[in-house]
């Protein structure tokens, strides 16, 4: 129950945050964190099965492009473009997943990487209607336009918070359900999973589609918030960053990608003063984290708590071998 209470307090704090933080720059960083959390968390759901998709930026780009084309060229309201920007990447993910999930491990990385590059390449190649390398500018904000103005980031913050909470809520519930346990068991042993009646290819495909769907949501919000998208944004590097978020945060639970995305979006911002050394700082973090916290921040925290609980136990209990660090 304390966990639920902590969650309520966290959400309340996030809701009240704009009352305290009014600086546009800090709100901007918070929104960036929200976008990154959405993509990292959805990538993590597929990652539970042991598969890392480097095509997430591609699906995000498809979602962003859907929103850009619908709202700018066709003048549709953002609120209709948003669900469509989730559905279209999901629809594209179905055949792409069916093909790419035939291969495993590093080959899956390569196929999804190629997919991301192909998406990027197509959008970059066709000036009409995708804007080519210049991308698309002046994407209209969500309605009502009086509320979502470029000067006021607070409405964007709340919209981002809502979408992030929905994403995390869905992924959390699914990951804790029987379906989530199936994803973990596929990670443990695919052969045994199929031998207890689990349809491994279909399960992976569903996770792949869900990951694409939420990447599309994040992309749609990105387009509406920045009002500008280009092939230089949704790159392979962006997908790699998502993986770094998950690795640094930890794989063990949904808290991993969230903590990783929050920490690693904040840290480079803090190092912005170092100028050209910013990337160097960003590069050192995964390196140090893998050396010092191979299970990620979440894993190290769990181990730390286990050690403390261990120390608090009477000697007699220790001899029973109570140890949750294994």
């Amino acid at each position: 129950m304390t966990k639920a209470l902590g969650l309520v307090l966290l959400i309340a704090a996030l809701l009240l945050l704009p009352l305290v933080v009014q600086d546009a720059y800090y709100l901007h960083v918070l929104i960036l964190i929200g976008i990154n959390v959405m993509v990292a968390v959805s990538m993590w759901l597929l990652g539970v099965t042991g598969l890392i998709s480097f095509g997430q930026a591609g699906f995000m780009f498809i979602g962003a492009m859907t929103t850009a084309l619908l709202t700018k060229s066709m003048h549709w309201p953002f609120w209709i473009a948003l669900p469509l920007s989730a559905v279209i990447p999901a629809l594209i993910a179905a055949p792409v997943g069916r093909l790419s999930l035939r291969v495993k491990g590093v080959y899956f990385f390569l196929v999804t990487l190629a997919f991301g590059q192909v998406v990027n390449g197509i959008f970059a190649y066709f000036q009409e209607p995708f804007g080519g390398w210049y991308g698309i500018r002046d994407i209209p904000p969500p309605q009502p336009a009086t509320l979502f103005t470029t000067l006021n980031k607070v409405p964007f913050y709340y919209l981002c918070l809502l979408l992030t909470l929905i994403t995390c809520g869905v992924v959390y519930r699914v990951s804790r359900s029987w379906f989530g346990n199936v994803l973990w068991s596929i990670r443990e042993s695919e052969l045994l999973a199929s031998s207890v009646g689990i349809d491994v290819p279909t399960t992976k495909l569903i996770a792949f589609i869900v990951a694409a769907l939420f990447a599309g949501v994040a992309g749609s919000f990105y387009a509406a918030y920045f009002a500008y998208i280009s092939p230089l944004v949704f790159t392979f590097e962006y997908s790699v960053n998502m993986l770094i978020f998950i690795v640094v945060g930890g794989f063990a639970s949904i808290a991993g990608p969230i903590v990783g995305a929050v920490a690693l979006t904040l840290v480079p911002e803090m190092f912005r003063v170092t100028g050209k050394y910013q990337l160097l700082a960003f590069g050192l973090i995964p390196l140090l984290s893998m050396r010092l916290m191979p299970q990620g921040i979440i894993g190290s925290y769990a181990a730390f708590r286990a050690r403390r609980a261990h120390r608090a136990l009477p000697r007699s209990a220790l001899s029973l071998g109570i140890d949750s660090e294994a």
């Binding site: 519930r173 029987w178 068991s185 042993s189 999973a193 869900v210």
Partner: protein, 259 residues
């Protein structure tokens, strides 16, 4: 009634014929032993029966339905389950979670069921916890529910494998070398367990095994494979006396070159 019918099953790997024109029938309620020298094609035959490999020719029927080349997870829903030679387990899971995960076919396991998790779904899936505990007790792992599967002793891993195989409620269970590498008393315990699978749960069992004593004791009938072909089939005593079987295992005494 014939539970499993295998007709003219063949599998080639390039020039090698791993399973050659195998025909055999397993009756419901039987414990069948499948023996043969190393490389005789026993595990390949299991892989063909359970959809891990596709046969080059021939067909497999389970409860009169043609299941040749059907996917493994579909066969589980039909009631045909297997275990593996190596200790295939969800090594990072606890004993309890291993067995619970193996109850998959009985659970409401879909994405939407998980997302919405209505009370009915939750109640249905929670009810499976009791079933998992029952199975763990049945195989003799009671009290070890919270231990991590990967850190169990070899004997306990084997028992857990049987528990995992048992969870989907199979009508036919294929056990691939259930007592390989076990100590003497563990062999006895496993064989008693195999017998009680049939006697108390009504599960038909086919087991591949190298431990002759164990096979002879527990099996009703034995099929002998050599170079992918069936060379003998019958009751344990008849098999033990069959000159062809003795030749396959020991070679012919007079001819030193035939190995």
């Amino acid at each position: 009634m014939a539970l499993l019918e295998v007709a003219h099953l063949t599998r080639r790997f390039g020039g090698l014929i791993a399973v050659n024109n195998v025909t055999l029938t397993v009756e419901a309620g039987e414990i069948r032993g499948l023996i043969g020298p190393n490389g005789a094609g026993k595990t390949t035959l299991f892989n063909l029966l359970t959809g891990v490999l596709r046969p080059t020719a021939g067909c497999v029927r389970f409860e009169s339905a043609d299941i040749t080349g059907e996917a493994t997870h579909r066969l589980v829903r039909r009631g045909l389950v297997r275990t593996y030679q190596l200790s295939q387990l969800f090594a990072g899971f606890t004993v309890f979670r291993n067995v619970l995960s193996a109850l998959h076919v009985h659970a409401r396991s879909g994405f939407w069921a998980g997302l919405l998790e209505l009370p009915a779904v939750r109640r249905h899936n929670d009810a499976l916890h009791e079933r998992a505990l029952e199975i763990i007790r049945f195989v003799g792992l009671g009290g070890r529910e919270e231990e991590i599967a990967g850190s169990l002793s070899h004997g306990h891993k084997r028992l857990l494998q049987v528990a995992v195989g048992l969870a989907p409620s199979p009508r036919l269970l294929l056990l691939d070398e259930p007592v390989a590498g076990l100590l003497h008393e563990d062999v006895d315990r496993m064989m008693a367990l195999v017998q009680s699978l049939r006697d108390t749960q009504g599960i038909t069992v086919v087991l591949v095994e190298h431990n002759m004593q164990a096979v002879m004791r527990v099996c009703d009938r034995i099929t002998v494979l050599q170079f992918g072909s069936v060379i003998a089939e019958g009751a344990p005593a008849a098999i033990a006396a069959d000159p062809k079987v003795i030749e396959a295992y020991l070679g012919v005494f007079e001819d030193d070159d035939a190995a």
